[in-house]
Structure formats: C-alpha cells, structure tokens
C-alpha cells in the first residue's frame, strides 16, 4: 500500500472510531469506558475470529458489541428490555426482508446496502421506545440475527456456507448498523423534541 493510501485509511479509521466513541458514550457508560471499548473493538478487529464448527465469531465486530448489548439489556428496566427484545426481532425480520426484496445490485440502491440495515433498527427503536440504547441493541443484534437466519436457510438447502458473525471488525455491518441506528434515533428524537417545543411555545403565545 502506498504511503498516501495508508494516510487515507488511518484518517477513515480515526473518523469512524470518533463516531463509535460518541455513540458508546450514550450507552450507560463513562467517557473513559466508551474510549476503552472503542479501543478494544479496534484491537479486536485485527485479531482472527473464533471458529466454532461452521460459525465464526469476530472479537471487535461481534463479541464486544454483543457484550455491550448484554450490558445494556441487564441495566435496562423491565419494560425497556421487553421493547428492545421486540425491536431486535422486528429489526432482524426487516433486515431479512430488505435483503430479499431490494435489488441485489448495490449501485441500484439509493443507499449502500451496508448502511441501509441501520435504518430499520433506528426507526423501530425510536417508535418502540424512543431509546438510543435500544437502537444500538436493535442495530447490532438485528444484523447478526438476520445473518444467522440466512445461514440456517443455506444449511437447510445443503449450501456449505460459513456463518460469519461480526468478523468484519469495526467495519462490520453489525457495528455500522448499531451506530447508524443510534444516530438516526438521536436525529429523530431531537427533531421531534424541537418541533414539540416550538408547538408549545406557539400555544403559550396564543
């Protein structure tokens, strides 16, 4: 790789890590813990995945994000936990359906297929509970569950495909989806809050 290409790659990693740190900071975590987890996810991205039969589990893109999801579910209240789990199920279904129904050629889609999967997660989490934490869990678990469903169908058809879960590290669709879902939820939440505030102010004036 040329030196200039290396600079471009490093810059992309830094921008993306900054984004992930900001997102993790919203997950019942201290600033330092969010920074540490981002570093661990980055380090885990360079380690080989754990192989269990036909399943490969990535450390940076699978195990650590799943650990964060588990931590969030444990710390959530009963109602939030139920909503999040329901959101995960619906997100996985939506991602599976999007995969099957949208055009298979990437250039046909208005948004890259890797990015598109975070959209239902963010929308569903916001509708179900206005929760950024729920959005992260829905984004990560939704993608991984959809991938698992595809692998199960492949195996049933006799296709010897390997199920890779989060082996793409920080660049994995599961992490991207979690981050996008939180950002989308935040965007919708802030927009709705500002609209409500404006409406209330108008009401006060009249």
């Amino acid at each position: 790789m040329t030196a200039s290409s290396l600079i471009l790659v490093i810059a992309a990693i830094l921008v993306y890590c900054g984004l992930i740190q900001r997102v993790l900071d919203r997950m019942y975590l201290s600033d330092r813990a969010a920074l540490l987890l981002t570093g661990l996810m980055l380090a885990g991205s360079f380690l080989p995945p754990v192989r269990l039969g036909r399943v490969e589990l990535g450390l940076g893109g699978g195990l650590i994000p799943l650990g964060v999801c588990l931590w969030l579910l444990v710390h959530a209240g009963r109602e939030e936990r139920f909503r999040t789990l329901l959101g995960c199920l619906l997100t996985a279904s939506a991602i599976y359906a999007l995969g099957a129904l949208l055009p298979s050629e990437a250039e046909t889609l208005p948004v890259d297929p890797t990015l598109i999967m975070g959209i239902p997660a963010g929308l569903l989490a916001w509708i179900l509970g206005r929760s950024r934490r729920g959005a992260f869990v829905c984004g990560v678990v939704g993608v991984l569950a959809a991938d698992a469903a595809v692998a199960l169908l492949n195996w049933q058809r006799g296709t010897a495909a390997v199920l890779r879960l989060g082996t793409g590290g920080l660049a994995d669709a599961a992490v991207i989806s979690g981050v996008l879902a939180v950002l989308l939820c935040e965007l919708m939440g802030e927009a709705a809050e500002r609209l409500t505030r404006r409406r209330l102010r108008k009401g006060e004036r009249t």
Binding site: M1, T2, A3, S4, S5, I7, L8, A12, V15, G18, R22, D25, D31, R32, F46, G58, S93, A94, Y96, A97, L98, G99, A100, L101, L102, P103, S104, E105, A106, E107, T108, L109, P110, D112, P113, T114, P120, L124, I127, L128, V143, V150, N154, R157, G158, T159, A160, A161, R164, G166, T167, G168, G169, A171, D172, L183, E186, L187, E190, R194
Partner: protein
C-alpha cells in the same frame, strides 16, 4: 395507535420496495446514440469511460433508459516507463493481491447450463484462474471462496466480512471482487485478442466512498496498461453509486468478467492477460518476489530503486487521496455541526456542545475535561 401505525409503516417498507430484477438499462447520448448497456439502474452523476476513453456523465434516468452527456476524453496515466530499454529488474516489495466473489452463485449458461448456481458458482473458477496466473508471475494471490448466498441485497453485507478477513490475513495491495455481468448479448463481451477467443472485462468503481477517486485512478492505470498490451481486453469503466466494499481499501476494484451468456472458457482465456495487466499496472511487470526475472525485455525500468510502473501508480494515487481526505473531513464536519445544531438549536449552543464532545473524547487533553456533574446532553 399512532405508534402502531408507524410500526406497520416501517414493517411494510420492504414490501413496498421494488424487487430487484436483472433488466438491462440502455445508456444513450442526448441525440439518441447508444453508449452502452448496463444491467442495473444507472443514477444521475454516474460516470462512464468507454473503450475509446470517451467519458460520459449520466444526466437523466427514465424508465429503462439513461441519457449521458459526453464530457471529454478521460486522461489515462502515461506509460513511458513501459518503453524503457535495458531495464534492470530490482528487488520488489512483497506483492499481494486478494480476490473474492460477492456473488458466489454466478455462472456461465453455455458452459454450466445455469445462470446461477445453488452452490459454488463457476465465477469462483474464474477467480482461481486469475489467482493462479498472478502466482505464476510471483504475486502472492489469495482467493477466499466463502459463499455469500443468496444473491440478494444482503450479499455485499456478507461479503464485506470476507473482504475484511482478507485485509487482515494478508494486507494486500489490491482487493478484487470478481463478478460476471448480466447483459444478455454475448457479443458485447466477446473479443479476439492475438487470435485467441477471449472475453472483455468491465471495471466497476463505487464513487460513494472516500476511496472513490483513488480507485478510479487505479482503474485508469489498469485500462491504460491493458489498452497498450492487450487492446480490447478492458471493455470500459463504470463509476456508479454505492461502495461495493471499496471503502475498505484504496486500490479496490470490481471486475465484471464476461457475461452469463458467454462460454466460461472464453473468460478463462482472458485471465492470463488480466493477470499480466494487473502485474504491470501495480508492480511494473517484474516477475519473482526477489525480482530476479524479467517478464519482458525493457518493461521494468529502474528509477531510484523503485519499479517505475509502481512509482507512477503511487504518484497518481497520492494526487487522488487528497479528495478522499476532503470527503472524510466533510462527512465528519457535517455530522458534528448537524447533530450539535439540532440538539442545541443555535449556532452558539451547537459550538458549545461540539467543544464539550471534543473535550470528552480526548479525556481532557484538548481543553478542560468536563466534570462528572456537568450538564450532559443525552439521556
């Protein structure tokens, strides 16, 4: 009730989305002259470089037809280094190229009897053939044959993991995603080069990512070398919407090796030529890891200890990386300003929030570290 309606709308979103069909789109000039055919929907802003290097930009897209405005002739990189005589082969750096197939089901109907295979499609044979030819030229070529079935919108999501695995395991100079086209007319890809029946290859570059310009420069270098050594091998270059996982590495390309109505044997016959082109475009054509054998007299010129072909590519790449860095900067700035403004409601409040975020992220290295009790902007 409102929530239920919204929930149903989200669930119905995929159902209302248009299912993907492999229809052929015709790209024409404003006066109706045919430019090319592509089997997926073009988008406004897509660029196309034809075999004769004429460049077009898609300006309108209507049902089944796109209009592209000619925008001059694409500037291909200079290949003076290929004319050098009495060149001295030099120690070459570790040369690695990684290959994978996102659509592992793709097959060639005349040879395989099917358009798409239930298991390993014969596109994997094409990838293996290219890798074998590269290996013969001293390049460490790795193929990952992980299946990404089914052939749906999730295939690129799944193949992304394969691409990352390849980057992690062998740190390649170049990442190639091997496909075959879905255009029904075999003649659009059939070619005879040096008396041998072969297949043309289309290069696809995703323009929607930070590496878009860098990958375009690489595609132009590949086309320039191919036009010189094997005229007609590279059909054209299409720069479309999407990333095709090319955001992972500058120096990534998607190769459309023939189309499904062409015999696989023709496509396989193109692989030695394509391997030679890639070898020359990336490494100047010096054979052997130690660079002690020359592939062709006078091809690998030595300039200050660097193979000249690679030096040219590096120079071109350096020029294009700037736009990638600008792309990243713009995305970062837009995100910070947008979110800060939205949550604070004013420019001053937004700047305060952005500053606080920066102080938080750097743990106090930049500015004062926020106190634990200090107002937090999120719930």
């Amino acid at each position: 009730m409102k929530r239920l309606v919204l929930l149903l709308a989200v669930l119905l979103l995929p159902v209302t989305a248009r299912a993907g069909d492999m229809r052929v789109w015709r790209i024409e000039t404003p006066d109706g002259q045919s430019v090319t055919e592509i089997c997926t929907e073009p988008s406004v802003g897509d660029h196309y470089i034809a075999g004769d290097n004429a460049e077009y930009e898609v300006v309108t897209v209507t049902e089944g037809r796109a209009v592209a405005q000619p925008c001059g002739v694409a500037m291909l990189p200079g290949l003076d280094w290929m004319d050098e005589r009495d060149a001295v082969a030099v120690m070459s750096p570790q040369r690695r190229i990684a290959l994978y197939c996102t659509h592992t089901d793709e097959s060639y109907e005349p040879s395989d009897g099917v358009y798409s295979s239930e298991g390993r499609g014969s596109i994997c044979d094409v990838a293996q053939a290219l890798a074998r030819q590269l290996t013969e030229r001293g390049v460490d070529a790795r193929v990952d044959e992980t299946l990404h079935h089914p052939h749906d919108a999730g295939a690129y999501r799944r193949s992304r993991q394969t691409a990352v695995q390849l980057l992690r395991s062998c740190a390649p100079d170049c990442l190639l995603d091997i496909h075959r086209d879905g255009i029904p007319d075999p003649e659009s890809y059939a070619v005879t080069i040096g008396g041998q029946k072969a297949s043309k290859i289309r290069l696809l570059v995703g323009r929607g990512n930070q590496n878009g310009e860098s990958n375009r420069a690489f595609a132009l270098m590949v086309k320039a070398v191919a036009d010189r050594v094997y005229p007609g091998l590279i059909k054209d270059i299409y720069m479309g919407r999407g990333a095709f996982n090319q955001d992972l590495l500058p120096g990534s390309l998607l190769l459309e090796c023939g189309t499904y109505t062409l015999e696989k044997e023709r496509v396989l016959a193109s692989m030695p030529m394509m391997a030679d082109v890639l070898d020359r475009a990336l490494y100047g054509g010096v054979v052997g890891a130690a660079g002690n054998v020359q592939s062709d007299a006078g091809l690998a010129a030595r300039r200050g200890g660097v193979v000249q072909g690679q030096a040219d590519y590096q120079r071109g790449d350096t020029q294009e990386v700037g736009s990638g860095l600008l792309f990243l900067g713009a995305i970062g700035l837009l995100g910070i300003v947008g979110l800060s403004l939205l949550s604070a409601g004013s420019m001053r409040g937004g700047m305060r929030k952005a500053g606080r975020s920066l102080r938080e992220m750097t743990g106090g290295l930049v500015g004062r570290k926020p106190e634990p009790g200090e107002e937090h902007d999120h719930s």
